[in-house]
Structures are given as C-alpha cells and as structure tokens.
Amino acid sequence: MKFILYTLAIIILGYLGHTFLPWWSIVIVAALVGLFTDYSGIRAFSLGFLGVALLWGVYATFVNFQNEGIIASRLGELFGGMSPTIMLLITTLLGGFLGGLGTLTGNQGRKLFSGAKK
C-alpha cells in the first residue's frame, strides 16, 4: 500500500517539478521520496523506476497519440531508423533508470542518518 502511495507521490510531485523546474528536477523528486523509504536498495530503486517510467511513459504515449507519431518518427529516423514505439520504450526506460537512481540515493541517504539496521 505504501509502495503505491510513494509511486503516486513521485508521479504527482514529478509532474509539478516538470511544470515549473528544469527537467532534471525529477531526480531530486525521486530522491526526496526515497528519503522516506526504509526499503532495501533493490526495492527503493524499483519504486523510483516504476514511478518515473509511468510518468514519462504515459505522458509520452499521450503526446505521441495526439501527434499521430510524427515527431517520434522524425527523431527515430535521426537516431538511425527507430520506430515511434522504440522511441517510447527508450524514453520510458531512461525515465525509469533516472527515477531508480534518484530513489536509491534518497533511500541510502536516509540509512546514513536513521541508523537503522540493515
């Protein structure tokens, strides 16, 4: 249950960050949420991965749908002939990886100060 709440927190705060702050604010958002977690490293990483992958993936899919794939095909061609679907996948994975790194960093930071046992 908590995991879902944390995921939602990343999505909502991440979206706000993307609206008002530079794009890399998503990493800070993920790290901040990560600070609240006492998960294992892998679970913390998964949390950020899922949250940001969802946010980026769903948003990009929405844009791509409205745009009927025009910009994704052009950029895909520029990157050596990738389809819009592949472009979506890469975007989602990149977002997930960044989010995972963010939450993991926060999570490790908390462990530094909380003194909790591993």
Partner: protein
C-alpha cells in the same frame, strides 16, 4: 561503509544526470544532450503537436495600440485583422516567430557569419567568407537608410517587438526542435537581423558574375576568341521588353570604353548561385482572358527548404486587405495581391558586383594607392566564438571600393576588393511592401517600386481596372562598355561607376499590344537599349513563355496553372534535331534501336514518365564536356578557373561552325569535328542509360531526378521524402536538384479577386507538426489551393481552425 556506499550512489546519480544533460562532443557534430532531449516534458516529445485539436487563445501585449484578431484557415494560414499597419506588423512578427523561429535565427546567423557559434568548426569557413563579404556592413548601412524614415522604422520596430514578444513568452520546452538538438537558446530579434535577411536574399540573387573567370579566359585565349565564344546577346533571345521597343528618353552620356586589364588569378572563385535558380512571372490582359479581366502569375524559384522559404498570410487594416507570401524575418507581403492590384517578382541578372585589383603601398597591406595617393585601409576585426572550440579573430580590410574578399599572402598584388551595390546605404525597402498593401492602381504600383533596389527584380503588375505592367527595378550603375565584366585596376578612381542609370530610364512595359507582359530571368532588352549591361541571363524559359503566351487566347486560370507546370524545353528543341542530324553509327541491337527511336520521336517535354529527357541531358552534357575539353586542360595546366561558354552558344556553334577547331578533342591524334564529338558523346550517354535500364526497366525521369526538399540545417530526417516530379532547369516548370518553384501563385483580377497558390512545404516550421509539409503533395502534383481572402474576422465558417485575439 554506509557512507562510502551512499557517496558512490550519489556520484553515479549525479554523474549520470549531468552526463545526459550535456552534449557529447564527438567531431564533427556533437551528440545532443540525451536527457534534455528525451524527457517528454521539455524534450522533443513536446514538439509533437496535436494533429487535430486546436484551441482559441487570447494574448495581451503593451506593444499594441488597438485590438486585433487572427483567424487560421485549413492550411494554417493566418488572416490578421488589425486597427493599423503597425499593429499588423507586430502580429506578423509574433506569429512568424511562433511558426518559424529557428529558421529566422539560423538564416540570419548564416548571413552574418555566426553559424559556427552554434554549429561548431564545420561552418567556420563559411562564416569567414560571409564576414569578408561585409554582410553585416551591408545590413548596418541598410538600417541607417531605413532609420531616416520614421513611419517605416516604427513599423519595423513593431515587427521586431512582435518577434521578441513571442521569444519572451517561451519556456525551454517550447523551443523549436532544432534549438534542442543543437542545444542553444533563441536570442532576441533586432532590426539589424531584418536588414541581414534582405542582404542575404541579395547575396543569393546578385552573385551571378564571372569577373575572375572572364579575366583569366580573356588573358589565356585572347580578345578575338573571347568575343567569339562569349557574345553578350543571344540572337534567339526573346527579351523581357519586346524587341523593337522605342526608348523615349535622352540617355546620359556613356563613358568611353577603356582597355581591359589582363591577368591570371588563381583565387578559388566563390560558389555561384545555381544557374537554374530562376523564376517566372507574367500578366495577361483582359483581351486575352476568358473572363475579360487580367490574370497575374508568379513562381519564384529558390533553393527549396523545410521549413519553407515563404510564410503565407493575409493582412487586413481599415480600408486595405492584402494577401500573399512573406519572408520570415521581414515585415509585409513580398509577393501577393489586394482587392485592386497584384504583384510578383523575378530576379534581374544585371551584374551589380565588380572586383578591383588593389595596389598595396607596402607589404603590411595597411594602405593602398588610389589616384597616386596613399590611402589607409579600415581594419575590421572579426571574432568567431566557435562552439566547443576556441575563439578566433581575423581581420577584414576595407578599401574605398569595398572589402577585400579575395586575398592570397603569396601574391598580395592580386588581392581583390568587392564593389557591391548591396553595400550602399539609401533605399528604403521597407516602404515598398507597405505601399503595395494599400496600392489601388498603376500609379500606386509605380510609386511603390521606386525604392526597391537590391536585389534588382522584374516586378510584374496587374490591376482589376485592366492594366498590366512590368518594370525592371533596381539600382544599376552607369558603366562603360564591358566595364565590370572583368577585374579592374583599383588604383584609378576613374574605373569606378559613373553614377547610376536614372530610374525613369529603366526598361519597362505597360499594356503592350501583344496583350501580355512576362519575365523569366532573361535579358531585359534587345541590343538597342542605350546603356551597356551584362550579367547572368536565362536563355530558354523566356522564349518558351513568350511563344506560348503569344499563341494563347480565351485564357482561363487552369491554362495558367498548366503553363506554370509546363515541361517543354527550348534547349532540347534547339539542340536535339542538330545533334541527331550529326549522329553517325545508328544503334545496333533492338534495345538500342528502341532507345534512339524514342529519342527521335520525343516532344521535348521533360515529363516524369519519360526516359528520353534523361538521355538528352546525358548526351548534351557529354557533348558539352568533350567540346570544351581545352578549357578543362588549360584549367588543370594553369591551376585556375576559366569561364565555360554558355550552352546556347555551344548549340549555335554546332549549327554555324561544326568544323571549328574547338570541336577537336585535344588528347587524340585525329582531328575531330562536331560529327565525331556528337557521336562519341552519344555512345557514352547510351552506355549510361542502358546501365540504368538494366537495373530497372521502368526507369524514368521522376525516379532519376530524386527531387527532395531538404531541411534548412541539412538534418536528413527533417527533409521531405523523394517526390515524383518532372521538369528541368530549361523548362518553365523548373525542378532540378532541390531547386524549384518555392511558391506558385495565380491571381484572377476579377471582382472579387480570386487567387490560387501552393508551395512545397507548409506553414509550420516544426517537423513535429502536420503543417510542416502538408502542401508538398499538392505542389508535386501541380495542384493549387484556392485562397481564402476574408473581409472580416467573423468570415470563413468551418474553414477556420482556430482564432487568436490580441489586446
């Protein structure tokens, strides 16, 4: 332990984020910052516009004096309704920037030699060339002239403010995709950039000179051969002002001819505009049309690009409404129409660029001798802030003639200064298009074009009251015979221009008996025009155009569309019968017989389904190269550039002097005549065409041409697909490489006026918009859109996509 683990993870997170927020510097082009580019909120996804959802919007700006409204029609063409022209230009600036900001930025950067600031070392050479040509110097001088006219400079200020209002409203996520890929930010627009834009048009249209090659050729081959190979007038030419026109003015005194300064120059000549860069315009009077009203047509040919060369719009102010295409970076409508008149442009080929050999007074090249006096050069330091590299400074030397554009440290006495009309201050190009907007009749048109100076243009006109006219407009130096055809001695001011031809002596036609006026970049006049001139002129399209217009009557709009898309080549009609008559050794096998048979029955139309036009072009170019082999071998021997004879002259020689020594191929012991050369050329051409047919038996001109509209920044993925089109450099439907009609317009001057047009691209400059290239197929298929010319902002009904209001 924990602290180390934390620090490692933190560093990885930070490092990775930093890494993907910055470009990776791999030569020659850096890889864009991946994270910035891929994140869907500020990256490239954000440039993906919704294809079918449009929202009305309203804006508020202090720069506006009244209310204004803009309605966008189905082709995303804005119709501006403003309370005055100043407001209209603000909005034109705002919406042009909204759709074309990167194009505006990159084209003015290219003009002023600032590309390498964003593109890196790749473009440095190009930048240095632009600086040496004094493009910024030219733009600054233009602006000085404009600033003397308060009303016009206020209008330009308003346009600039409109562009900047848009730039200020942007967030990084709104930046055009090219800014994101090249990782730089838009900078503020300035009046100087608008001036630069005009000068860059002048540069691409004025530089049709061969002073350097002509001087070399004259010095190598001597006067007699030169005169024989390079006559100024083509006897077959059908000039813009009809042959036999009486010049009803007393010409100024022409200075006496002077001997030509011989010399050999091994500077690499500047790249010339492609010889087929040309345009057509014409107007037919009511006596030749079905409706009884004039029809005006114009198709300017420029290097086609995406984002498109032109931005289409309607401007409405109380009492005046005009419609047409504008240049992204300059206020007003350049080619278009209003309720009463229509106007269009083609380029004038008169040589307005001359070169002067500088006599340095010493090795330092800081002073030179003019009329026995020592004059200092003005040194201009040019700074290049190369992206991802160092800052480079070099020096451009300005003489009284102009900047030193050709220089070589080994032979400083061959340094050349450029005298170019576009460096001069004075004309007020701004008021030309302001006046066209409100023009009601011939007199208004005549007054409007007066200050149109650079680049010189053939300005065609038609009115709903039945007048048609064409004026050759520009600023033309008064030259002695052959002056400026060759490099001149820069140590004597008498070699300079002796003033200018008075504007009322410019060649012009109004309501001629033949019922039409026309131009296709050919000679302005026949040889009776009292002022000597030379330059680069087209030899085939003008003849086709005049021949066809002459034969037409009861003309409809459809006839005019067909004429703009006409593929007939006068060059093929001139050359092919001659070449066929000289051809020995008929084809041997069946395939070869069939190929030759097809060629013999070819109608000289460059239609996309045919193969004969490919064979003709192969054959002619092989024949041309074999004929002028002595030019090539001399060039290699002397390591310099020569002038090659024009194709019309080569064809004329084939007819008049088939035994001439020039037809002999110099590296063979035998003495060849035109017959052998034509035959040998055919064999070579036949081999080429057979190879094409072996690979694809359905090979044709459309496949062969591989016509594409490339991206302005040469990003392949942002260019068009390959288009299946016909046409040729010598046909009215000029399509060659990426050159072609950048806008086709037909205006029927009935009441109310009806207009049709199309261009190869779309209104949006965003590769992520369906309006980036939506008109391309229509253009390729020779189809047109009927234009929506709205009386009020409430008109248009379901043809309106959305509205914007400005307060």
């Amino acid at each position: 332990m924990r602290i180390i683990k934390f620090i490692v993870i933190l560093l990885i997170t930070f490092g990775f984020t930093y890494f993907i927020n910055n470009p990776i510097d791999i030569k020659p082009r850096a890889i864009p910052p991946i994270g910035k580019l891929l994140n869907p909120f500020t990256g490239f996804w954000n440039n993906g516009e919704s294809v079918n959802q449009f929202n009305d919007r309203s804006y508020q700006f202090d720069g506006l004096s009244g209310k204004a409204e803009v309605t966008y029609d189905e082709q995303l063409i804005p119709h501006i309704f403003a309370e005055n022209l100043k407001d209209a230009f603000f909005i034109q600036g705002f919406i042009t920037a909204k759709h074309r900001l990167w194009q505006m930025d990159i084209s003015t950067r290219a003009a002023s030699g600032r590309l390498s600031e964003v593109m890196g070392e790749l473009t440095l050479k190009n930048d240095q060339l632009q600086r040496r040509r004094g493009m910024v110097f030219a733009a600054e001088n233009a602006l000085k002239g404009w600033e003397k006219h308060p009303e016009d400079i206020q209008n330009l200020n308003s346009y600039t403010a409109g562009v900047n209002a848009y730039i200020q409203s942007m967030k990084p996520r709104d930046y055009p995709i090219e800014f994101k890929l090249l990782d730089y930010k838009p900078e503020a627009w300035t009046n100087l950039k608008s001036a630069l834009f005009v000068k860059s048009m002048a540069q691409s249209l004025c530089m049709r000179e061969n002073d350097l090659e002509s001087t070399n050729t004259l010095s190598v081959f001597g006067q007699e051969t030169f005169d024989f190979l390079y006559p100024l007038q083509n006897p077959k030419q059908s000039p813009i002002v009809p042959k036999g026109t009486i010049w009803d003015f007393e010409p100024l005194e022409i200075p006496e001819k002077k001997p030509i300064l011989m010399g050999l120059y091994d500077h690499k000549p500047f790249e010339k505009p492609a010889p087929f860069l040309g345009s057509n315009n014409w107007a037919v009077s009511g006596s030749k049309t079905k409706s009884g009203q004039p029809i005006l047509c114009n198709d300017p040919h420029l290097a086609m690009t995406l984002p498109s060369v032109w931005f289409e719009l309607q401007i409405t102010t109380p009492g005046s409404q005009s419609y047409g295409v504008s240049l992204p970076g300059f206020p007003g409508i350049t080619i278009g129409f209003n309720n009463d008149v229509s106007w269009g442009m083609t380029n004038v080929g008169h040589d307005v660029v001359d070169y002067y050999k500088i006599l340095w007074s010493d090795q330092s090249r800081e002073s030179y001798i003019l009329d026995d006096q020592v004059k200092p050069v003005r040194l201009k330091y040019e700074t290049y802030k190369v992206k991802g590299g160092k800052t480079i400074i070099d020096t451009v030397r300005y003489t009284e003639w102009g900047p030193i554009v050709y220089e070589s440290p080994e032979h400083p006495m061959k340094d050349l200064a450029m005298r170019w009309i576009a460096h001069d201050s004075g004309p007020n190009e701004l008021n030309v298009f302001r006046k066209f907007h409100a023009a009601k009749n011939f007199d208004d048109y005549y007054e409007a074009v007066q200050e149109f100076v650079v680049p010189p243009q053939n300005v065609v006109f038609a009115s709903s009251t039945g007048d048609i006219a064409l004026k050759i407009q520009g600023k033309f130096p008064l030259k002695r015979e052959d002056q400026g055809r060759f490099i001149q001695d820069g140590s004597n001011s008498d070699n300079g221009w002796h003033g200018f031809i008075p504007p009322n002596h410019f060649p012009q036609v109004k309501n001629p008996e033949r019922g039409f006026v026309s131009s296709a970049n050919q000679h302005s006049t026949d040889s009776t025009y009292p002022y000597p001139y030379h330059g680069g002129f087209e030899d085939y399209r003008g003849r086709t155009l005049n021949m066809l217009l002459d034969s037409m009557s009861e003309i409809t709009v459809q006839d005019m569309m067909d004429l703009q898309n006409n593929n007939f080549s006068s060059k093929a009609a001139d050359a092919l019968p001659l070449m066929l008559s000289l051809l020995k050794t008929p084809a041997s096998d069946d395939t070869e017989k069939k190929i030759l048979q097809d060629l013999k029955s070819w109608d000289y139309y460059f239609d996309k389904e045919d193969i004969s036009p490919i064979l003709f072009n192969y054959w002619f170019s092989e024949f041309y190269n074999l004929t002028w082999d002595e030019m090539q071998s001399k060039e290699e021997e002397l390591k310099l550039d020569l002038l090659y004879p024009e194709s019309w002259r080569t064809i004329a020689l084939l007819e008049e002097a088939p035994d001439h020594d020039f037809f002999d191929i110099k590296n063979t012991p035998a003495i060849e005549t035109a017959q052998e050369v034509v035959t040998l050329a055919y064999e070579k051409a036949l081999e080429k065409i057979k190879e094409k047919l072996n690979n694809n038996k359905d090979y044709n001109l459309g496949l062969h041409k591989k016509t594409k509209v490339p991206h302005l920044g040469r990003i392949d993925a942002f260019g068009s697909k390959i288009l299946d089109v016909g046409g040729d450099a010598t046909a009215l439907n000029v399509v060659r490489g990426n050159h072609g009609a950048s806008w086709k317009m037909i205006v029927d001057m009935s009441k109310p006026v009806k207009a049709y047009g199309v261009y190869p691209g779309g209104q949006s400059g965003n590769p992520g918009s369906p309006y980036y290239d939506n008109m391309l197929d229509h253009w390729a298929n020779g189809k047109y859109y009927e234009k929506l010319f709205l009386k009020s902002a409430s008109e248009g009904g379901d043809k309106i996509l959305f509205r914007e209001t400005f307060n």
